[in-house]
């Protein structure tokens, strides 16, 4: 019924109505907007140098001077958490965009050219048989630790999931009458793929991209936490938590604050994804 009522409205109005129906999506967008601002203005907000070591103020609890306390080297945890937002958001966005782009290219090849399908899907199945954290860790053994290599190590396990989705969608779309009609009048294959198939992938891919971003942010934190991700002195939420690992009983705040930020971010991204899914595909609203 709601789709009937909104059928004649502009897209902007539809989004407005969905937002009202989904307060959690509002929350997600608001949190992410604040985080993006925090990341952009990190140098101003942090107040202190996140790398500055102060042996006199080691593992101090939160206070007016150090909002989130200090870590084992006397570095300000608040400043490190604020700078860490940059790493997490860059990783989330970069991985989501790159794995969707790669996944669409490979998935369209597999879905449209049945000769390639067999080969591509066997490789993808193989990659998917390795748990993604283990695969990323193993890739980090080969790559040198750093932001860009961490992003690559996270993209590789994510791509097969996009490929699978795109391939399934392409397989169902390519037999739609309008695609067959385009084929019959002699439209070139690349044009069919770009003009007739790609636009139909947009909605499900948006949803997939947000969930990939959430999983990428967690994976980066996991890699850094385990000591195989971003170099330890660089403030990233995973690194800060790794620093606090041995001081759980005396300085819980070192782990607590970056952990809360991480949880909030992932929650916000997931809520955005849930909202997008319900908005773009009402049929799925009650599933999962």
């Amino acid at each position: 019924m709601q789709t009937l009522a909104t059928g004649s409205m502009s897209r902007g109005k539809k989004i407005g109505i969905t937002l009202r129906r989904q307060p959690t999506m509002y929350f997600g967008i608001a949190v992410l907007a604040i985080l993006a601002l925090v990341a952009i203005f990190a140098p101003l907000l942090a107040g202190m140098n996140p790398l500055e070591i102060n042996p006199l103020a080691r593992m101090k609890p939160p206070s007016a001077e150090h909002f989130f306390g200090t870590d084992a080297l006397g570095r300000d945890v608040f400043a490190r958490v604020v700078w860490g937002a940059r790493v997490s958001l860059v990783v989330g966005v970069a991985v989501a965009v790159a794995s969707v782009v790669l996944g669409v290219l490979i998935g369209m090849l597999a879905g449209y050219f049945s000769k390639l399908d067999m080969l591509i899907m066997r490789i993808m199945d193989g990659l998917m048989a390795i748990p993604n954290i283990l695969l990323a860790i193993a890739l980090m053994a080969v790559l040198k630790g750093g932001l860009s290599t961490v992003i690559i190590a996270i993209i590789i396990p994510e791509v097969p999931r996009v490929v699978r989705l795109v391939r399934a969608l392409v397989l169902s779309i390519r037999h739609q009458p309008y695609v067959e009609a385009a084929h019959a009048v002699g439209t070139r294959t690349h044009k069919i793929l770009a003009m007739h198939i790609l636009p139909n992938l947009f909605a499900p891919l948006m949803v997939q991209a947000t969930f990939i971003a959430a999983s990428a942010i967690i994976l980066e934190a996991v890699l850094s936490f385990l000591g195989v991700g971003i170099p330890p002195q660089t403030p990233s939420w995973g690194n800060i938590m790794a620093d606090g690992r041995n001081f759980l009983s005396i300085a819980f705040h070192i782990i607590l604050f970056p952990g809360l930020f991480l949880a909030m971010t992932v929650l916000a991204v997931n809520m955005l994804g849930d909202g997008l899914r319900d908005m773009l595909d009402p049929k799925l609203a009650n599933k999962i």
């Binding site: 066997r122 490789i123 199945d125 193989g126 990659l127 998917m128 048989a129 390795i130 748990p131 993604n132 954290i133 283990l134 695969l135 860790i137 193993a138 890739l139 980090m140 053994a141 080969v142 040198k144 959430a214 967690i218 934190a221 996991v222 936490f225 385990l226 000591g227 195989v228 938590m241 690992r245 759980l248 009983s249 819980f252 782990i255 607590l256 952990g259 809360l260 991480l262 949880a263 992932v266 929650l267 997931n270 809520m271 849930d274 009650n286 599933k287 999962i288």
Partner: protein, 297 residues
């Protein structure tokens, strides 16, 4: 599995640095390095190396760890116990709690109980394992001193001690898994409860417990599939949990191997982890027949 094997094999060969040169040390001459290279079989063509390696793997020989000089299989065998214990009890815990929660949420769909359960599952899905783990450790171990903070005790050290050390890791790892299972159970149960035969059963005045049982039998397949798919997530999560609780399992072994560039160990763990994953999903496929006898036809 063959694709995994090729990938795992190539992984070590993409790595920077020359293992022969590393083993030979700084003072080695070019000849020494060549000699070691020949003894390791690294001078042969890539395909031949792969076939030799693959043959050894099939015979159960995963090679030697380059950093400790212990056979990889032995290392993995030593570390298997804690990891399997955590994984097994986590699955058990998650299934026993999540399936009933999902059923309740579906039965009372739209109610406050349902909303609370769904909210809880979104939260559990987003909170990273280490935050849950450290949070639990801080409250139950540091503040209340009820449970050990870290470490692992084998079953031979006493059943009580064994479970005490496993409880927190399993709970913290299980929450994410529970969230996934609860949502899946709710979704499939909702669908099953909307079917005609359920309406008939209710119209006949059947006891609601029996109605749920009818629906659950029909919702079982997707739930079991999710259990299988979740195994990959679980194996990944074990790595983190082991680090949080300082448990000497496979995850710790892998991370240490990465830090030491010990490729044979990494290859071995990857192969075994994916073999377990494939095997479990095979079992899941076979279990469909139990829940859905129509498949036999």
């Amino acid at each position: 599995m063959v694709v995994v094997a090729v990938f795992v094999f190539l992984l070590a060969h993409m790595s920077p640095g020359d293992p022969a040169a590393v083993l030979a040390g700084d003072n080695a001459t070019v000849e020494d390095v060549e000699k070691i290279r020949a003894s390791m079989g690294l001078d042969k063509p890539l395909i031949e190396q792969f076939l030799i390696w693959g043959g050894n793997v099939l015979q159960g020989d995963l090679g030697m760890s380059t950093s400790t000089n212990v056979p990889v299989l032995k290392l993995i065998h030593q570390r298997m116990g804690p990891t399997l214990s955590i994984a097994l009890f986590t699955i058990l815990l998650a299934v026993l709690l999540a399936v009933p929660l999902g059923i309740v949420a579906a039965w009372k769909a739209g109610s406050l109980t349902d909303r609370l359960i769904m909210l809880g599952s979104v939260l559990a899905f987003s909170i990273p394992v280490f935050l849950i783990g450290y949070g639990l450790a801080y409250v139950f171990s540091v503040k209340m001193s009820l449970l050990p903070v870290q470490g692992y005790k084998p079953m031979s050290a006493g059943i009580g001690l064994y479970f005490k050390h496993l409880l927190l890791p399993c709970v913290s790892l299980g929450l994410v898994y529970m969230a996934l299972l609860t949502r899946m159970t709710r979704a499939t149960m909702l669908e099953a409860l909307g079917e005609d035969y359920i309406r008939t059963a209710r119209a006949k005045g059947l006891d609601s417990r029996l109605v749920i049982w009818h629906a659950l039998k029909n919702a079982a397949n997707p739930i079991v599939t999710t259990v299988g798919v979740g195994i990959a997530m679980l194996i990944g999560g074990v790595v983190v949990t082991e680090t949080v609780f300082a448990i000497p399992g496979l995850g710790r072994l892998t991370v240490d191997a990465v830090l030491r560039h010990d490729y044979p160990v990494i290859q071995g763990v990857l192969l075994i982890a994916s073999a377990i994953y494939v095997l479990i999903n095979l079992l899941v496929d076979l279990s469909y027949r139990i829940f859905d006898p129509r498949m036999d036809r």
